[in-house]
Symmetry: C2
Subunit: 434 residues, 2 copies
Amino acid sequence: MTESSALLTDQYELTMVQAALLSGAAHRRCVFEVFARKLPAGRRYGVVAGTGRLLEGLQRFRFGTSELDFLSSTGVFDDETLHYLSGYRFSGTVLGYAEGETYFPHSPVLRFEATFAEACVLETYVLSVMNHDSAIASAASRMTVAADGRPCVDMGSRRTQEHSAVAAARAAAVAGFTATSNLEAGRQFGLDTLGTAAHAFTLLHDSEEEAFRAQVEAFGPGTTLLVDTFDVETAVRRAVEIAGPELGAVRLDSGDLVEQAHWVRRLLDSLGNTSTRIIVSSDLDEYAIARLASAPVDSYGVGTRLVTGSGAPTASMVYKLVERDDDAGTPVPVEKASAGKTGRAGVKHPVRTFDEHGIAEAEVLGVGGEPNTEGSSARSLHVPLIVDGELRPGHTGSEAVRTARERHAESLAELPAQAHRLSDGDPVIPTIFS
Amino acid sequence: MTESSALLTDQYELTMVQAALLSGAAHRRCVFEVFARKLPAGRRYGVVAGTGRLLEGLQRFRFGTSELDFLSSTGVFDDETLHYLSGYRFSGTVLGYAEGETYFPHSPVLRFEATFAEACVLETYVLSVMNHDSAIASAASRMTVAADGRPCVDMGSRRTQEHSAVAAARAAAVAGFTATSNLEAGRQFGLDTLGTAAHAFTLLHDSEEEAFRAQVEAFGPGTTLLVDTFDVETAVRRAVEIAGPELGAVRLDSGDLVEQAHWVRRLLDSLGNTSTRIIVSSDLDEYAIARLASAPVDSYGVGTRLVTGSGAPTASMVYKLVERDDDAGTPVPVEKASAGKTGRAGVKHPVRTFDEHGIAEAEVLGVGGEPNTEGSSARSLHVPLIVDGELRPGHTGSEAVRTARERHAESLAELPAQAHRLSDGDPVIPTIFS
């Protein structure tokens, strides 16, 4: 993808730059923070995801001839603005929560320090990436928690926009999903891809037997056979007959999965196929996965509810100006003061504090400086992502996904045990401004 | 966008092709249908959208060197399959509901006729595009209905994935939205774009007055000033003082919009600004828009709830094999027969019937042939989109969005009046298999 990402934005980001170039305020040094005022209803924690994708996309945030020609054609933008945009390159600094880290209401998951013009034009793009990916990762984390070690596989591509599908696969991987059905996600992010056959493959053939034989011939006995196109019991017996004791797995994609998993397991075992796995994949979400905990299921294929954030398809993060210089170069904290949606002026310094057992106690946000966490064990949450326009290593590419997945597991393990409960609850640690 | 769309798909589409090439069934002529088994809970109709985007994307559905190299690297695919994919080009026929048309449970919104291999590989991509865009258009249509002629503007880009944002803007336009904040959607689909300033622009300046002056200087008095950063009344008076009687609009983005709209209108009128419009944009959905019907509001900016489908972020359409040839070339209707998710075998011929006043009565699906609609006025719902691999004119590009918007308005006008009710209900016309 070498395409420019610069028009994936709202027009007002650029009209604001135009007016600010005119007023002279465009070059004031500003600090913008990305945060969610609250978690989706009932959620106990959120998961930061999309950081790597964002940092990759920002490298392509350039206004080339095609973008400038379009902007010019709208008749909205003057020559000074177009000239400014033609040389646009983010030269500021970005700090943020490391990808995979958990977050809470008001956690400043990203901080942008740059001139107004440089930071302003990024708002929409930053939020699009972070709101989507964090929403998916936050839902995915509840699913992997519910799965309690059994592998979860993303199979949701068809239930979301085609490029969202790729991003969702990546976000799910951050939250512990082990593979995806999406090939582009495999190519772009080095994720493991999976998939064998749908009902159409069975229906295409003159009989289920012919279909199973074709699949086993193509992929060997270790393949996964879909056994619910006609009668499940007949199909399982047929699958074992054709693939033998090496049959990799059977997949159940409809009906009462708990009940079926039990008797299919017994049937497989009675036929000697004790190592043939059972994969289930019908309308699963974290609750359905939890209900299957006692059933002899080996892995979960999750679709619709993963890619739609299991009821919370956006993380509702905002990108707010919290400080800007005055004409003398002195930083001035700022906030919206009208009814509703109030902000909190000043730059936040986020720290997570821990009790003597290493369990997280609070999200402490120092306003205007480092918070005083004397007497507590504490971990600073901001890491440098871009410094003076230079991308810091380790936050992009396939490697970053693996690192983020490990970080997520560690961050989750530090939270109080009730973080693992699926029932509606409050954020498991309080956010304290200090 | 000249990038290949061919990996925006699930791996199993390609493994099925591989196994079918081996069994010889890959070249059997097949018919796949795209339909939703049901509408989202409470919805009275759905809106077909994405068709134009899909047809454009299918022109880029090619396996080039980069795609083939990746597939080869997975170790899953054999040479015969890679060779088949290297020459892949859809040469079949696609019929479908014209974009913008309303649909109901089981409406066959698209029909693909091709060999198994040619049609199978498209499944995921087709569903990703149609499920997303139709979900957004279906929500957007309820919003434009609630707005009852007042303009609705898409401002949701930041609350969905960056490419979904572009698609959502287009889908909203199909359902009657008049403009979008998204610049890429303006470029790609010729949509009108809008946007002036956010709270950050006011906070950037030393005073609201300076910010307003800068904006009016940059864009003239006809601009839209955001008046809720500090005190709304002060801001409205200041806006009028600075921009004069020509002030285009004020925007309210927080608080009780109904109450504010009333007194802001009176205030504007008392200051002589009777033609200054009021734009509202805070957490709107179809219900909030309906509540604002009696308030003096001139247009609606809709964000989160638009791009997340107002509670239904996917249209849940499926892509099902309903007929395939046997070895003798005789078409055989097929369907899944196991518990749940049952299909209905055979090719459907969709017709909408009307009463003597031209109001839709039923969605009649002739199974295996044209339905008998004698005695009713009726309209056939399938139009040719691709014939023997050739794209039919008129279904892609900017022009297609305008055509689809008109068609949507016409299709909606034909539905029984209760289609316009926002309360939960059943589909407004029954689906009848005939």
